[in-house]
C-alpha cells in the first residue's frame, strides 16, 4: 500500500497567447485609414491580423509525494509555480499528463477569497469557509478557534469593509489555516502582515505541518523554505530541474538564475558531506546589486553563502586577497564573539563590506576559508576566484602611484608662511613650490 498522497505524471499546461498585429498608430488619420483599409480588403488582411502562440507554463512535470512531506517549490517569477499549485488545487486542468490525489486539497492561495465587504466578520467566516470547502458543521466547530486566532472578537458583527487591512488579512488567514484537509497548498501568503502576525502564521504553519498534513509551500523567501521544508523542487521555465534536499535545491536555484552574471566569483552546490562549506561567493556593490566591474576606491561587498551541517559557537570566516605576486593585501577573519551569525546550522549568507577598496589596479585572487577561531582551519579554498581592479577615470591624472596600496591623497599648493619661525637652514631650495594637482588621487 503506497503512502503516496500526490502523484504527478508528465503534467503539462499550455496557454494560448494572442498577438495582435503590432502597428503603431501615430495619428488619428492613420487609425481611420487602417480601419477603412481593413473594411475594404477584409479577406486579404485578416490572414495577418492576429497570431496565437502556445505558451507552455508547465512541461512534463513529474513527482511523487508521500504523506507528511513538506515540499518547497522555488523558481523564478514565471517559472510555473502558481500554475503548478492551480493544477494541484484543481482550479485549472492540465493540458497533458495525469494527477492523482489521495486526499482533500485545501489552498491558501489568496487570503480572503470570497470575502464580501458588505457582510460582517461572522458572516464572512461562514462564507469563506464554505467557499474553501468546509461544511457548515465544520465551520461551527472551528468558529471559536478561528476568531481567537484572528483576534477580531470585538468586530465580529461589523461589516468587513470597515476592517483595517491587517484585520482583513488575519481573518482570511485564520479561516484558511483551520481547513480540515490532508493536502495544503500555500502560496506566498506568509509575505503579508506585520512581523507579529507573520510569526503567528509561521507558528500555525509549523503546527499544521507537525500534524501529519502534506504541505506544498511556494515562497521567494529562501530561508523559509530551508527552515520548514523536508524536500524542495525547483522549477525553471515550466520544467522540473531539481528535486531533493532544500539546501541543495536552493543552491541549484541560485546557480540557475544567476550563473550568467560575472559577479559570481565562486559557486559549488553543497555535496552535503562536510560539516561546513562555502557554497557561493558573490561580489556586489553598495546597493547589493551584482558588481561586474571593480574600480579602485569602490564600495564592494563580498557575499558568502555558507552551509553548516552542525552548529559551532566558535565558527569564523576567513577572507584573503592576494595580488598577482602572491602578496597578501587583505587577511581578515570574523570574530565569533562579536559576530555570531555563523554559529547555527543551516544556510547562512554573510557579507564583508569594504567601503573604499584601496587596491591598485591589477589582478587579485580571492581565498576563503572557515575556521574554529583560534584553533584550526576547517575548510580552506585557496585562490578560488580572480578579479580585476580597474583604474577610475581620474586615477593617473596628477599622481603616479608606484607603491603597494592605493591611499586617497591629493596634491595641493601650500602656503609659504610658517606658523612658527624656524631656523633658516632651509637652504636655497627651501621655498619649494609644488604644483597643485587634482584632488582625489
Amino acid at each position: 500500500m503506497s503512502t503516496n498522497i500526490v502523484k504527478m505524471e508528465g503534467v503539462s499546461k499550455c496557454f494560448r497567447i494572442q498577438h495582435k498585429r503590432s502597428e503603431r498608430y501615430a495619428t488619428l488619420r492613420d487609425v481611420v485609414a487602417e480601419k477603412v483599409n481593413r473594411a475594404i480588403r477584409y479577406r486579404k488582411l485578416s490572414a495577418n491580423r492576429a497570431t496565437t502562440e502556445d505558451f507552455w507554463a508547465l512541461e512534463n512535470v513529474s513527482f511523487e509525494v508521500d504523506r507528511g512531506e513538506i515540499i518547497g517549490i522555488i523558481g523564478k517569477n514565471g517559472a510555473g509555480k502558481s500554475t503548478l499549485l492551480k493544477i494541484l488545487s484543481r482550479i485549472t486542468e492540465p493540458t497533458a499528463g495525469r494527477l492523482e490525489l489521495s486526499g482533500r486539497v485545501g489552498s491558501l492561495l489568496e487570503v480572503g477569497t470570497g470575502f464580501h465587504p458588505e457582510l460582517t466578520g461572522r458572516e464572512n467566516i461562514f462564507l469563506n469557509g464554505a467557499i474553501m470547502g468546509m461544511t457548515r458543521a465544520e465551520i461551527k466547530r472551528r468558529f471559536d478557534e478561528i476568531v481567537a486566532f484572528a483576534e477580531v472578537e470585538r468586530f465580529l458583527d461589523t461589516p468587513i469593509k470597515r476592517y483595517s487591512s491587517g484585520m482583513y488579512v488575519r481573518l482570511g488567514f485564520a479561516v484558511a489555516a483551520h481547513l480540515e484537509c490532508e493536502i495544503l497548498l500555500v502560496d506566498e501568503v506568509l509575505a503579508v502582515g506585520d512581523t507579529e502576525f507573520q510569526k503567528k502564521c509561521f507558528g500555525k504553519i509549523e503546527e499544521v505541518v507537525g500534524g501529519g498534513r502534506t504541505v506544498f509551500l511556494v515562497s521567494h523567501q529562501l530561508q523559509n523554505i530551508a527552515r520548514l521544508c523536508t524536500r524542495a523542487i525547483v522549477l525553471n521555465s515550466g520544467k522540473l530541474v531539481f528535486d531533493g534536499q532544500p539546501s541543495a535545491a536552493i543552491s541549484s536555484y541560485l546557480e540557475v538564475t544567476r550563473a550568467e552574471q560575472t559577479h559570481l566569483l565562486f559557486n559549488r552546490p553543497s555535496a552535503g558531506s562536510q560539516d561546513e562549506e562555502i557554497v557561493r561567493l558573490e561580489m556586489l556593490d553598495e546597493l547589493c546589486k551584482p558588481k561586474t566591474k571593480v574600480f579602485t576606491f569602490d564600495f564592494i561587498r563580498f557575499r558568502f553563502f555558507v552551509n553548516c551541517a552542525r552548529s559551532e559557537t566558535r565558527r569564523s570566516l576567513v577572507l584573503e586577497l592576494r595580488d598577482n605576486a602572491g602578496v597578501p593585501v587583505l587577511v581578515v577573519e570574523t570574530n565569533p564573539e562579536e559576530f555570531g551569525s555563523l554559529k547555527s546550522r543551516g544556510l547562512h549568507a554573510v557579507e564583508c563590506c569594504i567601503e573604499q577598496l584601496s587596491l591598485l589596479p591589477g589582478q587579485y585572487s580571492v581565498s576563503v576559508g572557515l575556521a574554529i577561531y583560534g584553533v584550526r582551519l576547517t575548510c580552506l579554498l585557496s585562490d578560488i576566484a580572480q578579479f580585476e581592479v580597474l583604474a577610475p577615470h581620474n586615477f593617473h591624472q596628477s599622481s603616479i602611484n608606484k607603491g603597494a596600496v592605493a591611499l586617497k591623497h591629493c596634491w595641493l599648493r601650500s602656503r609659504l608662511e610658517l606658523e612658527e619661525p624656524i631656523a633658516s637652514d632651509i637652504g636655497v631650495n627651501g621655498d619649494q613650490i609644488l604644483s597643485r594637482a587634482s584632488e582625489g588621487d
Binding site: F15, K86, I87, S89, R90, I91, T92, E93, P94, T95, A96, G97, R98, L99, E100, L101, S102, V105, S107, L109, E110, T113, G114, H116, E118, L119, E123, F126, L127, A130, I131, M132, G133, T135, R136, P159
Partner: protein, 270 residues
C-alpha cells in the same frame, strides 16, 4: 479515495462533488440575498414592491387597452402572470451573469462550477416565494378560494426554473468567452415581456398562430399559473404546454452540456 485528474476525464467525480458542495450553493444564495438588502431602508420589502408596481402598470395597461374583464378579477390574472415573469427575468439575468460575477472565486478556488448558476436561481426563487405572498394576499382580498388546480402551481414553477436554468447556463458559459451576451440578455428579456401574455390572455391569440406562439415556453408557464390560481377558470391547452415542456428539456440538456464542456477552461479565460 483516489482522485484522478486528467485532461478530458471528468464525469465520475463531478456529480459526487456537486453533492458534497451543496452547502456552498446555499451560502452563495444567502450571500446574494443578504447583500442585496443590506443597508437599504425598505429592505426585503423591495422584493414585494417591484412585482407589485409592475402589476399595477400592467393592470393599467389592460384597462386602457379596453380589453374585456372576465369573471376572474384582472388584478389576480395579471399578478399570476407578473410573478412568474419576474422570477424568470431575474433568474435568467442573474444566472447569465453569475459566472462572470463570481470570477474572483472561480479563478482562486476549486468547486464544481455548476454551483454558481444554481445559486443564482436559488436566490431568485427566494425572492419569488416572498412575492408569492403578494398573490396570496390578493386572493384573500378577492375572496378567491384555491381549488385542486393549485397543485399545478409548483409544477409550472418547476417548468420556469428549468427554463431559466437551461437558458441561464447557456448564456453564463457563453458570457465568459464572449462578453456580448451581457447586452443580449436584457434585450431578450424585454422583448420576451412583450411577447408573453402578461397584459393579455393567450386565448386572445388566433388559433392558427397558437403553436408558433407556444414556442415561447413562458406562455405555458403563465397560462399554467393563471389556470392554477383561478381554479381552472382560464383555459390551459395541451398545445400550449407540450411544446413548452419539450423545449425546456432540450434547453436544459443543451445548457448543461455546453456549460460542462466549457467549464474546465473558465479559470484560464475569465
Amino acid at each position: 479515495m483516489k482522485l484522478i485528474v486528467e485532461p478530458g476525464r471528468r464525469a465520475k467525480n463531478y456529480w459526487h462533488d456537486l453533492w458534497q458542495y451543496r452547502e456552498l450553493m446555499y451560502f452563495l444564495a444567502w450571500r446574494d440575498i443578504t447583500v442585496r438588502y443590506k443597508q437599504t431602508v425598505i429592505g426585503i420589502a423591495w422584493a414585494v414592491l417591484r412585482p407589485g408596481l409592475t402589476m399595477l402598470a400592467f393592470l393599467g395597461f389592460r384597462r386602457l387597452a379596453g380589453l374585456p374583464p372576465g369573471q376572474i378579477p384582472d388584478a389576480i390574472l395579471v399578478s399570476a402572470a407578473v410573478l412568474p415573469w419576474q422570477f424568470f427575468s431575474t433568474a435568467l439575468t442573474d444566472t447569465a451573469g453569475s459566472v462572470i460575477g463570481n470570477s474572483h472565486l472561480i479563478s482562486k478556488v476549486y468547486f464544481p462550477r455548476l454551483i454558481v448558476p444554481c445559486s443564482a436561481i436559488a436566490s431568485a426563487l427566494v425572492d419569488f416565494l416572498i412575492t408569492l405572498c403578494l398573490l396570496i394576499i390578493l386572493m384573500l382580498a378577492y375572496g378567491l378560494v384555491p381549488r385542486w388546480q393549485m397543485v399545478g402551481l409548483p409544477l409550472f414553477l418547476i417548468l420556469a426554473v428549468g427554463l431559466s436554468l437551461g437558458l441561464g447556463l447557456l448564456f453564463a458559459a457563453l458570457n465568459v468567452e464572449y462578453r456580448d451576451v451581457r447586452y443580449i440578455v436584457p434585450f431578450c428579456v424585454q422583448f420576451g415581456m412583450f411577447l408573453s401574455p402578461i397584459a393579455f390572455s393567450s386565448s386572445e391569440i388566433p388559433d392558427k398562430w397558437r403553436l408558433l406562439y407556444s414556442l415561447n415556453p413562458m406562455v405555458a408557464v403563465i397560462d399554467g399559473f393563471r389556470w392554477s390560481v383561478s381554479g381552472g377558470a382560464t383555459s390551459l391547452d395541451l398545445i400550449t404546454v407540450s411544446p413548452a415542456v419539450l423545449i425546456t428539456v432540450i434547453l436544459i440538456l443543451i445548457g448543461i452540456t455546453y456549460f460542462r464542456r466549457v467549464e474546465r477552461s473558465f479559470a484560464d479565460v475569465i
